[in-house]
């Protein structure tokens, strides 16, 4: 009984270590392989509604049937500076600039993703 409990903990440690190692390795790979992006693409409910170059500073309001978000592009980074959604996760998200990065506002079905630059 004691031995089997020990074996179980051993397998626990192995599995947990493997999961954490895989996660850390993929995090490093993702951040290394990602290139700076060039455009911020705005999609609402899967449909593209706008593209904004990251090289120009703009502030734009995105009004969807579910609510309003403000997208601000400044110094080559895209950020959601205001949202009237209930959770505010998108406006709390840090600014993004790497190709493939996204800011998602689930309540408004809004996705802002960065494209361009080298393909990941």
């Amino acid at each position: 009984m004691k031995k089997s409990a020990k074996n179980k903990i051993k397998l626990d440690v192995i599995v947990i270590t493997l999961i954490l190692a895989a996660a850390v390795v993929s995090l490093v790979l993702i951040s290394v392989l990602r290139e700076d992006g060039e455009v911020a693409v705005v999609t609402v409910d899967g449909d593209e509604v706008g593209r904004y170059s990251l090289s120009e500073n703009v502030e734009t309001e995105i009004v969807t049937e579910n609510g309003k978000n403000v997208l601000c592009i400044k110094d080559g980074q895209a950020d959601v500076t205001f949202a009237d959604c209930p959770d505010g996760i998108c406006s709390a998200h840090r600014p993004i600039d790497k190709s493939g990065e996204t800011i998602v506002c689930l309540p408004h079905k809004l996705v802002i993703s960065i494209e361009g630059g080298e393909v990941r």
Partner: protein, 171 residues
Amino acid sequence: MDKKITSAKRCALIGICTSCALVLSYVEVLLPPISAAAPGIKMGLANIMTVFVLYRFGLKPAGTVSALRIILSALLFGSVVSFVYSVIGGVLSLAVMTLLKHSDRMSVVGVSAVGGVVHNAGQILGAVLLMETAEIAYYFPVLAISGTVAGICVGIVGALLLKTLQNVKLY
């Protein structure tokens, strides 16, 4: 679950476990988010009850308690979106935890840790389906780490609970 148990007792027991899980969900709603910049990172305290019921009473009661807790907490403090995520994550993690429990090769803590990761994998899957974008999968490594840590904590509390209550007659 014991076959001799009457349906009234079973009903009461599931009710008690569900209300414990709901209280844990509520406590988690009251706590500030762990990181505003990283949504989806949660302790998943209610899963302490899922783990406890799964090990003490088996899959059926654990499924019932989770299903009731997910429906009730969505009605009380959730949204349709969070409900969809919880359902996908809950079903997947319960299925995997049951398989691991039956294989009997990992302890409660290890099973719970894997359950946590699978729960987050389910959330990402739900987000990919709902948002129709695969980009969000890049976020999985972050959630996998938080899910593992949360699962370990939940598993430790669950194991303590099982140990403390192992000689207590619950029905």
